[in-house]
Amino acid sequence: MSGKIITVTSGKGGVGKTTVTANLAVALASMGHSVAAIDTDIGLRNLDIVMGLESRIVYDLVDVAEGRCHLSQALIKDRQLPSLCLLPASQTSNKTAISPHELGLIAAELRASNDFVFIDSPAGIEQGFQNAISTADQIIIVTTPEVTAVRSADRVIGLIETSGKKPGQLIINRIRPAMVRQGDMLNTYDVIEFLAIDLLGVIPDDEAIIIAANKGKPMSGDPTSLAGHAFRNIAQRLTGETVPFLPILEERAGLWSRVRAAARRGLNSLSHPRKMGSRS
């Protein structure tokens, strides 16, 4: 088996990387895929809490990297979903405790026995971010429809381009349809127009997500919630299916096709090449 390594990153902190990682991992595992999630937010581990696995941690990512235990000893299996496991971050070391090479080896080992390997990246654009993207086959950039988050996402997109990786895909989190309708929040189309990358999905702002995180039970399995539906749709898109976007989150009909077309043409109001950082 050779799975896909998917890194979830954002630049700005607190926009929903950990929430997205946990929910997509659970959604894919519920669909019958084998999934491993690695928390690389060393020193500020959180994925264990959101997935409800914090009480069972014995070893962590840094222990594995430094050879204090085998990878299999550090993995925590989810009791409800046996095809889902977590490699937790260390809470005591810092972000430089692991090198891209070490993370690459661990991710490669997990890929050999899983369909999907998620890497939850720390906030920022330093070493921890570089580690997380260096080993990725696919990168998901999470943003919210706010100026600060979109700006950070733009920076991250530029850095991914500089690193030679293929462009990431965007998840817009915490959309509030009522605010969008009032014209007080950027809509999906606005954000895509600015960032000029492919859209992977849109997730509404939903209290249920906070409650689920507090309970340690990701809610992508919840059939009644809109956010859960959004996560399941994204999970399906990751398996290669074409799933239409949830109408309630869109401004106008036919958005997806227009977004795709616009992205292909590079037709966005800012479409001059991003500065190539170190290359220029």
């Binding site: 100026v147 979109v150 700006r151 733009d154 920076r155 530029g158 009032q182 014209g183 007080d184 929040m185 950027l186 606005d190 600015f194 590079g266 109001s269 800012l270 479409s271 001059h272 991003r274 500065k275």
Partner: protein
Amino acid sequence: MMELPGWMFGRRKSSKAITKERLKLVLVNDRAAIPPELLIVIRNEIIRIVSRHITVDRDKVDVRLSSSAGETRLIATISLASRQSAQPPVMKPLAEKKEF
């Protein structure tokens, strides 16, 4: 016909237009990697050079990056002082006119 103000109908100006304008400016600057300090330096030099010839209103000189149709431009908007103090062109007469 008299125009009625928007608030009479409970309409309110949306904040999105401002948001988009600000975001656009920020991204144009970030991507061009031209720091705002450099724009200030450029602005001051433009004022210095243009002032040699015409009187400009220093407070109303705006230098910014703008992007449209896939092209980034440096746009300088220079307001002239309301009354031009007839600044003689800084040119030497080519030759003294001589009366014969």
